[in-house]
């Protein structure tokens, strides 16, 4: 790990080696409300962090190992557990991969329904993330507003899939059920209102000078370091790298839609917290386009055999989830169960940047830097 993390200039006068008991070791978590289900071991000299060591693994559930003893359909409710707020997007690469293995085509309408569900889910996730970011920084209005407005999209997902958080909606071959009657009108109405609401966040949160004073120029990640550390998603885009899987490797019908990538250059906590918000506005655009282009009727699921089997094959597919590129690698050995399944998730990749970003920061800036990484502890542990 040591050679991976680039060196960073520290404020002058700080002691890195523990010579005369100046360095204090502090455990943040795993029960700390600000850390989530993980621990960050920070070493501080006075008010400055001289070393940080994230310690994930407290909510490791072995989803990848469990997948090896379950068939391709019963894996669905399990694999969405790591991120229940973003369950469609974490299931997306798996479903695309199994479709490649089994060799089935997805109906056109199902592709559009999937894109709509995935974008709705992305907004649900980002709203939840933003609510926590707000309360981390002591901005309780920014906790209430996203947590309330999230209900608009949870309501839509409940109408489509029948569940509020763990939808289990995508299956290899399409989606499980068609959208209800007059869904297009309800969805359009709610998306338009939602867009109007999240634009209001600009005034109270993103243009707020207090937030800017707190987050600007803290935890700066340069473009080169962002690429070298292997970060993804909003962290990468906030550092000025124009990379989005939806644009670079379009899956399903993203190549037919006009997707705009939001890139900011600053690379600080403020830019990292602003990119997801811009992504939500972009998601509203994508949903509107998809609703317009979606075939009005047609099949939404290609029927699978009861126990689908893949050949002697392996497949890797990836999508853009709420936290960055989410990939799924499946090895099949002519059995109904996958021989090996591996999830590659954005949270874990972004966590690698944390020790680098925290060095030289004040301890009070830790929550602002940590949660701006768009990190979800359960997903990193899997």
């Amino acid at each position: 790990m040591a050679e991976v993390i680039p060196t960073k200039e520290m404020p002058p006068g700080l002691q890195v080696e523990n010579v005369d008991d100046r360095i204090m070791t502090l455990n943040v978590g795993p029960q700390h409300p600000g850390s989530g289900h993980m621990r960050i071991i920070v070493k501080i000299d006075g008010d400055y962090i001289v070393d940080a060591d994230p310690d994930p693994g407290y909510v490791h559930r072995g989803e990848e190992k469990m997948a090896e003893s379950r068939n391709y359909i019963t894996n669905i409710p399990h694999l969405e557990r790591p991120v229940i707020h973003d369950s469609c997007n974490i299931l997306y690469p798996y479903v695309l991969g199994v479709e490649d293995l089994v060799g089935i085509e997805v109906p056109e309408r199902a592709k559009y329904v999937r894109v709509i569900a995935a974008e709705l889910n992305r907004c649900i996730y980002i709203q939840y993330w933003l609510a926590i970011y707000g309360i981390f920084l002591g901005h309780s209005t920014m906790f209430m507003w996203p947590a309330g407005d999230r209900e608009l999209f949870i309501d839509l997902m409940e109408k489509i899939s029948g569940a509020r958080v763990t939808h289990a909606y995508f299956v290899p071959g399409g989606v499980r059920n068609d959208v209800p009657a007059n869904f297009e009108d309800v969805c359009l109405r709610q998306v338009n209102y939602f867009e109007k609401r999240i634009k209001e966040y600009g005034d109270i949160f993103y243009d707020n000078p207090i937030l800017k004073a707190r987050t600007e120029d803290t935890g700066v990640l340069s473009r080169e370091d962002a690429i070298r550390l292997g970060t993804t998603g909003s962290v990468l885009r906030a550092s000025g790298v124009d990379y989005d899987v939806r644009v670079k490797e379009p899956y399903d019908v993203y190549d037919e839609l006009d997707v705009h990538t939001n890139v900011l250059k600053a690379g600080d906590s403020y830019a990292r917290s602003k990119v997801p918000w811009l992504d939500m506005l972009e998601s509203c655009n994508i949903i509107r386009q998809a609703l317009e282009k979606m075939p009005k009727s047609g099949s939404i699921r290609t029927k699978l055999k009861p126990n689908p089997k893949g050949g002697l094959d392996e497949v890797y597919r990836r999508v853009e989830s709420g936290r960055g590129a989410a990939g799924c690698y499946i090895v099949s050995k002519e059995k109904p169960e996958p021989y090996r399944l591996k999830l590659s998730v954005g949270s874990f990749r972004n966590l690698i940047a944390l020790p680098y970003l925290l060095k030289g920061e004040k301890l009070g800036n830790m929550p602002a830097v940590y949660w701006s990484l768009n990190y979800w502890p359960v997903e990193a542990d899997r």
């Binding site: 379950r70 894996n75 608009l152 029948g162 569940a163 699921r301």
Partner: protein, 165 residues
């Protein structure tokens, strides 16, 4: 933009919400309206019908005791057990029907997708809490009862914002 104007703008956007109706759903008094009668599956077309994934509905006159729902649940939650029922049905010679433990059920609905005889659906009933663990285990006789669910509130969006009413 200066610091003072920024703070005034932020305050102003909050103050505007004094005139907006409250969004919160007053839950025990108000309850949400759902689409349809719950999640159902049509084995003929292989496609489900949208609806809430709540407590199951078991139709005794359709259930053949084939255990497919139980097998589907084995890899997910192991919530379904096949139990003996006292009365016998023509199509169900073994007289076994699913009994569902809601302490384990994750409401994924894969058991409904597995049923080829239109015997197992999901209903709009979501208030399943109980004081004991045994109270969460629903026998085939309990699953047969059609739930009466209060549904009187839905999302309204107008010029004064969104609210439940």
């Amino acid at each position: 933009m200066g610091t003072a104007t920024g703070i005034i703008k932020a305050l102003n956007s909050g103050v505007k919400h004094l005139a907006v109706k409250r969004f919160t759903l007053r839950y025990p008094e108000q309850k949400l309206k759902f689409v349809g009668d719950g999640y159902q599956f049509d084995p003929a077309s292989g496609v489900a019908i949208a609806g809430l994934k709540g407590r199951h509905m078991l139709f005794h006159d359709h259930c053949t005791g084939c255990q497919l729902c139980s097998i589907a649940c084995e890899g997910v939650a192991e919530a379904i057990a096949m139990v003996k029922v006292p009365d016998s049905w023509g199509q169900n010679k073994k007289a076994i029907m699913p009994q569902i433990d809601y302490g384990k059920c994750v409401f994924c609905g894969l058991c409904v997708d597995a049923c080829p005889f239109y015997a197992l659906y999901m209903s709009n009933d979501y208030e399943l809490s109980s004081f004991t663990k045994e109270g969460l285990i629903y026998t085939p006789a309990q699953l047969q009862v059609k739930p009466q669910v209060q549904q009187d509130s839905e999302l309204i969006i107008d010029k004064r914002g969104a609210r439940h009413g």
